[in-house]
């Protein structure tokens, strides 16, 4: 690299360093640990949680959704373990939030299986999967059995 070309690297290097620094310093305030319900309990057992911001994923237990005046309570479960969630967020509930939806709650774990969520995302389990689980339909597979027209 010729010396006179060196000056063209000063600007880009400054820009890259500045952006890296911004990215790094904004990181702590915005990071969250993403876990399933059972991973959460596993971490609790190892005392590895201490005040970390968490995102926990699980399926909404049918019939568990209860509204109170200042919060919305429900259970999410995964692999037979359940977590009681108290949603205190300001935002309205997503349309997709209902029994058996896959929910991701964002907030803090209080211990004893209770979670305070300040935000939440949800998506629907597909209808057939849910019904198969509930025993309404036999399992459906779309594996090929050949095409007959």
């Amino acid at each position: 690299m010729k010396r006179r070309q060196l000056k063209f690297f000063v600007g880009p290097v400054i820009v890259i360093l500045a952006l890296a620094w911004i990215g790094y310093s904004a990181f702590d305030a915005n990071k969250a640990y993403y876990q399933t319900v059972s991973e959460l309990y596993a971490m609790e057992a190892e005392n590895a949680l201490d005040g970390k911001r968490l995102k926990v994923a699980g399926d909404v237990v049918p019939g568990s959704i209860v509204r109170t005046d200042d919060s919305l309570n429900f259970l999410i479960s995964q692999e037979d373990q359940t977590l009681a969630v108290q949603y205190v967020g300001k935002a309205a509930l997503p349309d997709t939030f209902r029994d058996r939806a896959q929910a991701v709650v964002d907030g803090e774990y209080l211990g004893n299986g209770v979670f305070i969520a300040t935000s939440m995302q949800a998506k629907c389990a597909s209808k057939y999967e849910a019904e198969a689980e509930a025993g309404v339909l036999p399992t459906i597979s779309d594996a090929s059995v050949g095409i007959e027209d």
Partner: protein
């Protein structure tokens, strides 16, 4: 009809394999008839996959629920257009559609260049058809949309099963813009295959002048335009359909479409240096490879279920195939690049920091940094799980904090870059160029500050917006004035002819102006407000200078859904300005609820009313109201960008010989030299 589709798909597979084989063999043997045959087979593959698409559409329109994909994505009462949209509304169909679009581009490119670039074209055919082979194989063997629906019975045997009705298209997708949003996005993503294929062909055939860049410039722009429009429509869809009051949430699926757009934008800019100065040849190769890779990667991200997203895509086993394919593409491309480095020597070096070249370099740096930041944030859960065993995610504010300075930097360059001279700019010319825009910008800041805007990045964004707009207007004004005095046209004629004679340059300015308007819209976010409450009929809710009153709550039924609607009167400063109808819908076919927000939009701000549902006792409606300033400018900016791109796509109006001589040395004028060069 499913059998026909299946047959068309199988035929497409055979024809595609033949097309690749014939092209490669034709190159080896120098056999022109074999090469022509390979190319024609590629066009044949387009015909075959078109047959498969038509057959799938037919199955949807005839409600053939014996087909698993149709049963999962449609129902009898679904309106006609949504049945068409359902063709690409789910996993299997969308992959078939992706592959089809690739053959559309391939066929168009083959026909366009059938008598041109004879050394390069067989490679282009081979590369494009190899891409097509992957998607055709996926549709045929892994995600076949023509499979029958079967039940697994208790004894483990399979039984064909035709439900009385399908389970319906995801209601969130039942929105008119969503009929065109995914196709736009796909056409955009897939379109980058064209410059990629030409780049590979240029390297393979050692034709490494700027022919491949000049030939694909319009294709790249079309892809960039469609992808950008697709992203905008996605934002619009999120805004009116999801009910959380915003248009962008840094969701992985949104990021997946943004990343190739960012790299594609970098590529569109940096090719100009290669055309003009013969610099950055290796870098342009890297950019085009990465842009196409990101387009594939985005498709992988949204289909594989590797990252959790609010977008409910079917999780499936296709991730592995995609990853293998992407790795194959990247390794092949970079192997070729390393092997051909000797042919990609730069013809010039940077001379001054204050130069157009240097401006482009910073432009590229920031676009690539933006893409990297989005990539890092999106993929962090995956990487952190590999390294630490725990998934770490970043919340949307992280993206905002990182992208904010990058966006402002790019906005600044939008104003400065086009005014910098090639090679070096003298201090005097800089002063001349920036005195007026700088003065306007400072005066504008003072006014904004005086009216009470204190939000620092909004203030910077608006200041830069004034600065950039001024530079653009001066360019048009000076150009038109010079033209008027030399030709005697009136000012408006001069303005129009100026633009039509150098569409790329002036279309580019219009695009830049659209980007400025987008930033004006983005800066409005700094002043968003929202409020929420449970309201009975007659109750009111206040926000900023607005008061909203619930006048009625009513229920309606249609074949496709049941709706409950609130009738809300909007008062501004005590005066009734609108009646709004936020609504919730319930779709029995898919057992899913959606909301239809009511939006009152003007150039200053949007009042956005969301009907979140009834309270448990059913007496009150939970209503959320957002006031979002300047959102309209985001959509207007998008439209201006689209218009600018269309101008830039126009062929230059022919210039008279005497003017052509004069213009020859001026910048950016396009010379139709690629054809001569190739035949030489």
């Amino acid at each position: 009809m499913a059998a026909f589709g299946q047959f068309a798909l199988a035929l497409a597979f055979v024809v595609t394999v033949y097309s690749i084989g014939a092209s490669v063999l034709g190159i080896r043997l120098g056999n022109d008839r074999l090469i022509a045959s390979g190319r024609n087979a590629g066009i044949g593959a387009f015909a075959c996959i078109s047959g498969a698409i038509v057959s799938l559409a037919y199955l949807f329109l005839t409600n053939d629920f014996s087909i698993s994909y149709v049963a999962s994505n449609s129902n009898r009462d679904l309106p006609f257009f949504y049945k068409i949209a359902a063709v690409w509304g789910g996993q299997e169909g969308s992959l078939l559609f992706w592959g089809w679009i690739l053959t559309v581009y391939a066929a168009l490119v083959f026909i366009q260049n059938r008598r041109r670039h004879t050394a390069m074209m067989p490679y282009v055919v081979a590369v494009l058809m190899a891409g097509s082979l992957f998607f055709t194989s996926m549709s045929l063997f892994v995600t076949n949309p023509f499979h029958e629906l079967v039940l697994v019975q208790n004894d483990g045997t399979l039984m064909a099963f035709t439900p009385a009705d399908g389970r319906g298209l995801n209601p969130l997708l039942q929105y008119v813009l969503n009929v065109i949003h995914p196709p736009m996005l796909y056409f955009g993503l897939v379109g980058f295959a064209v410059p990629f294929a030409f780049a590979m062909a240029a390297m393979a055939s050692r034709q490494l002048g700027d022919t491949w860049i000049r030939t694909t410039r319009r294709w790249t722009m079309i892809a960039w335009f469609l992808l950008g429009t697709g992203v905008m429509l996605g934002g619009k869809w999120a805004y009116v359909e999801l009910g959380w009051g915003g248009y962008w949430a840094w969701d992985p699926v949104e990021n997946a479409s943004l990343m190739p757009w960012l790299l594609g934008t970098a590529f569109l800019h940096s090719v100009m240096i290669q055309e003009k100065k013969g610099m950055m040849k290796v870098w342009n190769m890297v950019l085009v490879i990465m842009t196409y890779t990101m387009a594939l990667f985005g498709t992988f991200l949204t289909r594989s279920g590797i990252i959790s997203s609010v977008h409910a895509f079917a999780q499936s086993n296709i991730g592995g195939y995609f990853l293998a394919y992407i790795i194959l593409v990247v390794s092949f491309a970079f192997y070729l690049l390393v092997d051909r480095l000797g042919y990609l020597k730069t013809e010039n070096t940077l001379e001054a920091v204050a130069s157009r070249e240097s401006g482009f370099m910073f432009n590229n740096l920031l676009f690539v940094a933006a893409c990297f930041a989005v990539f890092w944030g999106t993929m962090l859960p995956v990487f952190s799980e590999w390294i630490q065993g725990t998934k770490i995610t970043v919340a949307p504010p992280w993206y905002t904090e990182v992208m904010n300075p990058i966006g402002l930097g790019l906005l600044f360059l939008t104003g400065v870059g086009p005014l910098l001279a090639w090679r070096r700019s003298s201090i005097n010319s800089l002063k001349r160029a920036f005195l007026m825009p700088g003065a306007f910008a400072l005066a504008g800041t003072a006014v904004l500050f005086a009216v009470g805007i204190r939000h620092i990045s909004a203030l910077i964004a608006l200041t830069l917006a004034i600065f950039v707009s001024t530079t653009i207007f001066i360019e048009f004004f000076k150009g038109a004035r010079a033209r008027r005095s030399s030709t005697g046209e009136n000012f408006v004629e001069a303005l129009v002819n100026l633009t039509l004679r150098n569409t790329r340059r002036y279309g580019g300015y219009v695009v830049h102006f659209g980007i400025v308007l987008l930033f004006v819209g983005f800066s409005g976010q700094a002043f968003n407000a929202d409020v929420q409450n449970d309201l009975a009929i007659g109750d009111t809710i206040a926000i900023n200078q607005y008061v909203l009153r619930v006048d009625d709550l009513r229920i309606q039924d249609t074949a496709n859904y049941q709706s409950s609607q609130a009738v809300v009167s909007l008062f501004k400063d005590g005066e009734k300005v609108a009646i709004m109808y936020p609504e919730r819908r319930f779709y029995p076919a898919s057992e899913q609820a959606t909301s239809e927000v009511a939006i009152r939009s003007n150039l200053v701000e949007d009042v956005y009313v969301y009907f979140a549902g009834y309270t448990p006792d059913g007496s009150k409606a939970t209503i959320q109201v957002f006031v979002n300033p300047m959102v309209m400018w985001v959509w207007i900016g998008g439209i201006v960008v689209a218009l600018g791109t269309m101008i830039a796509l126009l062929p230059n109006k022919r210039t008279t010989p005497s003017r052509k001589r004069k213009l020859k040395d001026s910048e950016d004028i396009e010379e139709p030299r690629e054809t001569e060069k190739i035949h030489a």
